[in-house]
């Protein structure tokens, strides 16, 4: 009865649905609806619910490569081991440092670049094309290019500093803990700014020109216009960008694989890379799964936090 699309009881979710016979046009419509939606839903379910359930189950067992025949139930031991491990806290620390740098940089630069694209100079058509390029190429490719630029023996960055007389000899930027993370951050922001710029450009172009005219008539200066009109009106876009960039920052993996391999001394081993290491290098699947579950929970918690902010901000704006 439930599956036939509509029973006699009006559902609270579907206030306008009228009770009809099980073979009328309404029924046919419901059948069409499920036929078109279910392929997507089932495909997504197979590749999200099952893997996540699998990770949950694995995380409660001891699963290591060299003992495939025995996978004893160990309760929360994997979680405790993971959380107590020194690498867990340092990799989260690095991840949060990275995200704390990447999100504001990508957001603010995107905001600035969007204004530049909106300024309509002779360069604008050219910039509109150029800005898409870093976004279009695979992340590993941008990582390879930047790793070569920061290369300690032949890199262009060293070459430039040397030619300008700023350094006496080439420095190993990617082998020093602090500068390595900065190099990855630089490459990451270079790749992310195009998308944030385009999203901000969209938001800027949606602001009615009359608002600016009215502000000008009232004698508002540029800072006041920015603060009172532009920033509040692009706020929904800002929140989309901040949520998205936080997500992308937390799961950063591709750049680390090609630029630093998580090194030096784990300084760029962000949480995703640490997870990759514990599964595919250390082959401790139980701990890897526990780590995966924790990462998924952390990600959802972050997003929930943002969505809560988003909701309260929306009330504030309107």
């Amino acid at each position: 009865m439930e599956t036939k699309g509509d029973g006699g009881v009006p559902s609270p979710f579907l206030p306008r649905m009228r009770p009809v016979a099980s073979s009328g046009p309404r029924y046919r419509e419901a059948r069409y609806a499920y036929a078109t939606v279910l392929p997507v839903v089932l495909l997504v379910a197979l590749f999200t619910l099952y893997p996540f359930a699998f990770a949950l189950v694995t995380s409660l067992r001891e699963v290591v490569l060299y003992k495939p025949w025995s996978q004893p139930f160990v309760g929360l031991k994997n979680y405790l081991d993971v959380v107590r491990s020194e690498f867990f806290s340092t990799s989260w620390q690095h991840t949060l440092t990275f995200v704390a740098g990447a999100v504001p940089l990508a957001t603010l630069l995107g905001f600035g670049v969007a204004h530049l694209l909106n300024a309509r100079t002779a360069l604008t058509p050219f910039l509109n094309v150029t800005i898409l390029l870093p976004w279009a190429i695979p992340t590993v490719i941008s990582g390879i290019i930047w790793a070569w630029i920061f290369n300690s023996s032949y890199g262009a960055f060293n070459g430039a500093l040397y030619s300008l007389g700023l350094i006496d000899s080439y420095l190993p930027w990617l082998s020093r803990p602090r500068s390595a993370l900065l190099c990855v951050l630089f490459a990451h922001v270079w790749k992310e700014v195009p998308l944030t710029s385009i999203l901000y450009l969209a938001a800027l172009q949606a602001i009615p020109e009359e608002l600016y005219d009215a502000a000008r008539v009232d004698g508002a200066g540029a800072p006041a216009v920015l603060r009172r009109i532009t920033v509040p009106l692009v706020l929904p876009t800002t929140l989309i960008i901040v949520v998205y960039e936080t997500m992308v920052g937390i799961v950063t993996f591709d750049l680390l694989y090609v630029m630093t391999g998580g090194g030096p001394a784990g300084a760029t081993s962000l949480i995703s890379y640490y997870l990759y290491n514990s599964m595919f290098v250390a082959f401790n699947f139980g701990q890897g799964a526990a780590l995966a579950v924790l990462l998924a929970i952390a990600l959802v918690a972050f997003i929930a936090l943002y969505l809560r902010l988003l909701r309260s901000e929306e009330i504030y704006v309107t």
């Binding site: 419901a30 893997p51 100079t121 695979p138 032949y154 949606a206 876009t237 937390i250 090609v258």
Partner: protein
């Protein structure tokens, strides 16, 4: 006063030039690296304007002939990774997978999004939220289970495995994007068609699809790019050149410390060509689609 106005007009142009340099410098650098002999690349400090140009690196990737000078140095084996020669078949693999993903997205995504945007049915809200929320799952968290699922389906190292996984990771965006877009298409035309006896599917194909063609083009472009650019999934479920995609081949060539960067630069340039051409070709749809969707309340 006039000088001041001129200065004011010059500021965005100057910033624009700075932006263009910031974005383009890495592309120029890698393109130049691909057409210089190894000796030149390793010069300290570099020649900013190349003095010697060569197509040897390209010839190596396309024909397998060692660039002159590499063999004499006795380091040919280490310096030139044979793996770089897998770039061409890998490009083919990437294209096959990405085109398939884009087509599957186009068909499944359009059907589902149209239903979500127009029809009321039990569970519509939760199902829609479920599809969108699935994107929150971090890729690395499902790496091992994906490997096992793909293995159980007998699809390890096959195109189908990548197509399935990429489709699952692109569909949420496609469905969201198209649902938001379809909601903006006025339903009047379809209603007229229903009066004429059209079914839902006919109305979708004959009336909505032509109107929403720019959005469909954008959705196709997004899914193509995601699939083509994906690295972690391709790394986990492929193992040989039979299905390895170009990011995997180039990444694993590049992280070899002995590899010749001239050769890597060639593979990097070749890898960038399809998505760059795609992005520029679909530029208007991509930007306009994003504008429409993100500014809809």
């Amino acid at each position: 006063m006039r000088r001041r106005a001129a200065l004011r007009a010059a500021i965005p142009v100057l910033f624009g030039l700075g932006l263009a340099a910031y974005i383009l410098a890495p592309f120029v650098w890698v393109a130049l690296s691909s057409i210089q002999p190894e000796r030149e690349l390793f010069r300290v400090p570099p020649h900013w304007v190349p003095r010697q140009l060569t197509v040897d690196n390209y010839r190596f990737v396309f024909t397998g002939r060692f660039p002159a000078g590499y063999e004499q140095a006795g380091i040919a084996r280490g310096r030139i990774s044979e793996k770089a020669r897998d770039a061409l078949p890998a490009l083919r693999n990437s294209t096959i997978v990405a085109v398939s993903v884009a087509l599957v997205n186009l068909v499944l995504g359009t059907l589902a999004a149209y239903t979500f945007s127009r029809l009321r049915f039990r569970g519509a809200g939760p199902l829609y939220s479920f599809v969108l929320a699935s994107r929150l799952l971090p890729p690395m968290a499902v790496a091992i289970p994906y490997y096992l699922i793909v293995n159980r389906l007998g699809l390890l190292d096959r195109y189908a495995a990548l197509i399935l996984i990429h489709t699952v990771f692109t569909l949420p965006f496609t469905v969201w994007f198209l649902t938001v877009y379809f909601r903006r298409v006025p339903p009047d035309l379809e209603e007229a068609a229903f009066v004429d006896g059209c079914t839902r599917l006919q109305a979708l194909v004959r009336i909505v699809v032509p109107v929403a063609a720019p959005a469909l083009a954008a959705a196709t472009a997004f899914s193509f790019m995601f699939s083509y650019n994906d690295f972690p999934f391709a790394l986990f479920v492929t193992s040989t050149i039979r299905s390895q995609t170009i990011p995997v081949i180039v990444a694993n060539t590049a992280i070899n410390p002995d590899v010749s960067f001239g050769v890597v630069a060639v593979t990097v340039v070749l890898t960038m060509l399809p998505p760059v051409i795609f992005a520029l070709g679909f530029r208007h749809y991509i930007t306009r689609g994003l504008i429409t969707v993100t500014t809809t309340r």
